[in-house]
Amino acid sequence: MSALMTVSMTINGTETEPVEVPEDLMLLEFLQEYLNLTGTRYGCGQGVCRACAVIHDGPRGPRALPACITGVAWANGRAFRTVEGHAERDDEVNVTAITPVQQAFLDHFSFQCSFCTPGFVSAAQALVERLEVDPVPVEDVEDVVLAALNENICRCTGYVRYLEATRDVILATPGLTTGVERAEES
């Protein structure tokens, strides 16, 4: 068995209690088996399908990364957002408000089985936040959305409704795009 190490990290804004874990434990296992946060899903265990994507809030801004191949040895001391941390919740952890990305996924009927949905929520949210800092021209939005979500595998939906939802959030949110003004503003 591998050596043990004590880790603690910030998950959805809350610092975890230090806990002793195998040093080769993956972040996904930590979330699921130690924190019971199972919204981040295991799809392939090799970083290919991105069902396990979480947002890392690092010094270079938010970035989606695969939790199934990211070890706690690196995650230790860092901050992450999982799918459970996007919506606002009351004291009983019931959802009280969801994010524009989540709302758009609902409105567009973006998912079917929803196994990959947490990964798409993470990737789309990270994209939206990246565009807040670094907006792109309106005419590039579709390409940017495709590039940002192309790593996420979905077997049910054919991607159309995820990508359209993400595009619409970006076009509807002031400040994410440059260039041509949106019709409703002009």
């Binding site: 068995m1 919204g39 799809g43 998912f111 079917q112 077997r155 049910c156 159309v160 409704r161």
Partner: protein, 936 residues
């Protein structure tokens, strides 16, 4: 016999354990004392705004079985044990046993289960012929790659993961003996469909499977023994004689015929459901209760088999609590064997819940696959008219290590081969073999993708050879409403493939294809552009579709539904909630899905809907509580039509038997027949507007008032119905409150409102309901099984693509589809199915493939790195478009479309690649390597 006597010995006098199935989301909701209600804002302006299961899914709640840990389950202990399989990655030597030495002292399992353990305890797989035995026994040669030999249980996660990681990708725990061949296996089945039509399309068939019989072969030394041909013999002998004539005619065709013989090959595919096979179960020996959480498309069958399995063993079982999660399968979890391993493993959990969840390598190694087919087609075409004259086909499929649904996948493949065309005569033979490959099951398409893609590729080739436009040739031969299919059955309703052919023929992608090719290739030097088309129709349903639905109104007008439907992603739970609206003015307010305990309508079934004789059926049908089967497995395709029928009938009966009486009681209140007195009120005129019942200018009545009145007066406020369909609906006559009526259901119970009198109250003895024995029932005759299929949904797809002859990469630039699905319940769900099916079809056409045997997934080294799934960039995500044909009438039933949508795009891609580079591929997928072989 052996099992029977042992069971008698062990469990003499014991009755079956109680089975309680609660969907996982409800089991969890129970924890919060909540029932599943409509989400706030679910509907707006009469339109569904999002899926009923949308919010928990988008916020990362626990909705899948794979999300569940022991501490999540109410009443379970918190400590979670974990288990993993040991499997054989090869089948070329004698398996001598398992050694745990490589794990060292620190990583020894807390429990190991092998064949020996199960023998000792009398735990046997139910229907082992269908599912396979649990474990390969020591001393035997593996039957197939990936066969399980042991399960190891660990009571802590740290040692579990370390041990699993130690034994992953190696054979260190396996002790091997001498080299050996896997045992010889008898093929799973061979079937033949011979149809010789009459002189005209509408004349009676000379011979057909429906009129006469399909032919099933026995096997000698692995070869099918078809009956000896005899023109005057039994159906089988006669069929063989006629098939012989048909083949002879194709060998020596009449003047004017052109005969095409082509061979097609489709590949071995993993459905790649993203939720790997998994489950979590707790055997509470103190109370004799087994709790099972798992992902499955066949919850009722699972629960039934698990109860039988445990009851027959040395383990006590008084109650089984079975919780299917929301899941996903595309057939990969339909009648899959996994839930039985979950339940079996829990028996050895030392009182602790045990989680058995496959990683993706293991899922590839063991989960159900799509059958690869070799399809030889001989098609005779009239040179002058382009009409198809005669069709012969021989199909061979590989079913892998365990039988599962192999025989019927073969049958469905053969009966679909005709695609959308009328064939005056045909001889379709299919055989499915056993092999050492991991088992193939009933993946989306169920064999039809394999056969129709072959036919659709051939039709394009024929068109080119005859100098005809491929769509024009299709229109010449298209199947018309009222024509007989290759089984001799007349499909239900209007068949509208012809409309799609017309639309596609006029589409600019098709009419401008030559100009577009020229322009594209000039603009992109070196690239090749092509357009391809295909149109197919897919049957939906299983030929024994059964469902149960209960609807109940509270005095406040709250509508509660209990339903057998479960959620596999396609939105069945959303659509079924809506189906009460036409009759009851609103969707269900709350629901229980995936229900399998039905105290309100206890029924009996022999569950042999396909195989029993007419005599048996007639005998059983005398018993008003008998139905051919209780409920059928979940697939995306059967819910829309078959479940909708059941929900609609329940809603209609609740209205007609209860609410309508309540309405009349309002309208006829007062002297002279009240406000209705001067008017003539007809039930048919009644309809719902904004939650109010309106009819013939009478005062609109809110549902709440009707519900209250129905309760006050003891009218009917709840119904439970059972429905059965064998390519036609079972119909029965009932007498309720003195009124006789007929309905397309085969069992009914009712509940009277709170004001009901003592006589009625005393009749409500079963789950608060009163069983209403049918007076008469008409089940579709068993002969109807021979029809194979009668419900079809058509779909057509045009594809534009480009080929890079250097890299061999095919890029789908655009695609346009036409779909007919009757009346759409939720259009967004229909188009989502279409988009998703097309993506899966693109994967089948271009990327997805595995070797069957030693280099294939059975060796435990396959994952998504080399099983290439289509991604967003592969499916023309921004360019694609689709048209759903308008229904012919507002009463068109919704059709099951989730399977058909993935098929035409496959052949359309093959035909487009030919347009692009001039080569016809007869096998899928069309990989870069295969393209390069012909372009280099």
């Amino acid at each position: 016999m052996d099992q029977f006597s042992r069971r008698g010995f062990l469990k003499a006098g014991a009755s079956a354990a109680a089975i309680c199935v609660t969907p996982l989301n409800e089991a969890l909701a129970g924890l919060q004392n909540e029932r599943q209600f409509q989400s706030p804002g679910w509907r707006e302006d009469g339109k569904v705004r999002f899926r009923q299961d949308g919010i928990p899914k988008v916020t990362g709640e626990k909705v899948f079985a794979v999300d569940i840990r022991a501490r999540d389950m109410p009443d379970w202990p918190d400590e979670q044990s974990h288990a993993f399989f040991i499997r054989v990655p090869r089948a070329d030597r004698v398996f001598e046993g398992v050694t745990l030495d490589p794990l060292g002292e620190a990583l020894q399992p807390d429990v190991m289960i092998t064949d020996e353990t199960l023998r000792r305890d009398g735990v046997e797989m139910v229907e082992a012929d269908f599912y396979g035995a649990f474990f390969l026994a020591a001393g035997e040669v593996p039957t197939y790659l990936g066969q399980p030999v042991a399960v190891l249980i660990y009571h802590d996660y740290g040692r579990f993961r370390a041990a699993k990681s130690r034994l992953r990708f190696n054979e260190d725990a396996l002790v091997w003996g001498d080299a050996a061949e896997p045992p010889e296996r008898t093929p799973y089945g061979a079937t033949r469909y011979v149809r010789i039509g009459g002189d005209t399309r509408d004349a009676e068939d000379r011979f057909s499977p429906l009129k006469n019989a399909p032919i099933f072969a026995e096997f000698t030394d692995g070869k099918p023994d078809w009956p000896s041909p005899d023109r005057n013999g039994e159906a089988g002998a006669k069929a063989m004689a006629l098939a012989g004539d048909l083949r002879a005619e194709l060998d020596d065709p009449p003047e004017g015929w052109k005969v095409y013989r082509r061979s097609y090959r489709s590949q071995y595919v993993d459905p790649a459901a993203l939720e790997p096979d998994n489950g979590n179960a707790w055997y509470d020996s103190a109370n004799g209760t087994l709790h099972v959480v798992t992902g499955t498309q066949s919850p009722w069958t699972n629960a039934d088999h698990i109860e039988k399995m445990v009851s027959a063993s040395r383990f006590e079982l008084d109650e089984l609590r079975f919780h299917p999660g929301y899941t996903v399968g595309y057939g990969q979890k339909e009648h899959h064997v996994f839930p039985y391993y979950v339940a079996m493993t829990a028996l050895y959990g030392d009182g602790r819940p045990v989680r058995l969840a496959l990683d993706r390598w293991e899922h590839f190694q063991s989960a159900l696959k799509r059958h690869p087919f070799d399809t030889d087609i001989t098609l005779a075409v009239d040179r002058e008219t382009g009409e198809f004259r005669s069709l012969a086909a021989d199909q061979r499929a590989d079913g892998g290590g365990v039988k599962n649904f192999s025989p019927s996948v073969g049958q469905v493949s053969a009966t679909a081969l005709q695609s959308v065309y009328y064939l005056p005569k045909s001889d379709l033979a299919v055989q499915v073999d056993a092999s050492r490959a991991p088992t193939a099951g009933s993946m989306r398409g169920y064999g039809t993708l394999q056969s129709m893609v072959a036919m659709e590729l051939l039709v394009d080739e024929v068109a080119e050879d005859l100098g005809r436009d491929p769509i024009e040739l299709r229109r010449i031969n298209v199947f018309h409403s009222g024509d007989k299919n290759t089984q001799g059955a007349i499909p239900g309703g209007a068949l509208r493939a012809d409309e799609m052919l017309e639309a596609a023929a006029a589409d600019p992608i098709w009419t401008e294809r030559a100009e577009r090719k020229k322009a594209f290739e000039a603009e992109n030097p070196g690239y090749r552009y092509g357009v391809g088309f295909s149109c197919v129709q897919k049957d939906y349903g299983t030929g024994a579709e059964a469902a149960l639905v209960q609807l109940e109104l509270s005095p406040e007008g709250h509508l509660h539904m209990r339903h057998v439907a479960s959620e596999i992603g396609c939105g069945a739970t959303t659509s079924q909630m809506l189906m009460t609206e036409p009759h009851l003015g609103k969707p269900a307010d709350s629901v229980d899905f995936a229900v399998t305990d039905w105290p309100s309508l206890p029924l009996e079934a022999n569950d042999e809907p396909y195989t029993m004789s007419q005599e048996t059926q007639d005998g059983f049908a005398e018993n008003p509580r008998w139905v051919p089967r209780i409920t059928s497995p979940r697939s995306a395709s059967n819910s829309a039509y078959y479940f909708t029928h059941a929900t609609t009938e329940a809603a209609r009966l609740l209205f007609e038997l209860g609410l309508w009486k309540a309405a009349l009681s309002f309208w006829q209140e007062g002297i002279g027949g009240g406000q209705a007195g001067p008017l003539h009120v007809r039930r048919e005129e009644a309809e719902w507007r904004d939650g109010h019942l309106v009819a013939g200018g009478l005062n609109p009545l809110p549902l709440e008032d009707l519900a209250r009145r129905a309760h006050e007066r003891g009218y009917i406020t709840g119904v439970t119905v059972h429905t059965f369909n064998r390519w036609a609906w079972a119909r029965a006559e009932f007498e309720v409150e003195g009124t006789r009526f007929e309905a397309p259901i085969d069992a009914l119970s009712v509940r009277w409102g709170e004001g009901a009198g003592d006589d009625k109250r005393s009749a409500m003895t079963e789950g608060g309901y009163a069983f209403q024995p049918r007076r008469r029932v008409d089940y579709p005759p068993v002969q109807r099984n021979n029809a194979a299929v009668t419900y079809y949904a058509p779909c057509a797809t045009l594809v534009e693509l480009s080929v890079n002859p250097g890299s061999g990469e095919v890029r789908v630039l655009n695609h346009r589809s036409w779909l007919e699905c009757g009346r759409q319940i939720v259009p967004e769900l229909v188009s989502g199915q279409l988009q998703g099916g097309i993506a899966m079809g693109i994967g089948h056409a271009l990327y997805e493939e595995m070797p069957l045997y030693e280099d294939g997934p059975g060796n435990g080294t396959w994952n998504f790195n080399r099983y290439r799934l289509p991604r967003a960039e592969d499916v023309a995500v921004w360019a694609q478009s689709a048209t759903v044909l308008d229904p012919l009438s507002p009463t068109d039933p919704p059709k099951g479309i989730a399977e058909v949508v993935m098929i035409p795009v496959v052949a359309a891609i093959g035909n487009a690649v030919h347009h692009a580079i001039g080569h016809r591929f007869h096998r899928t997928p069309i990989t870069p390597e295969r393209i390069k072989e012909v372009t280099a």
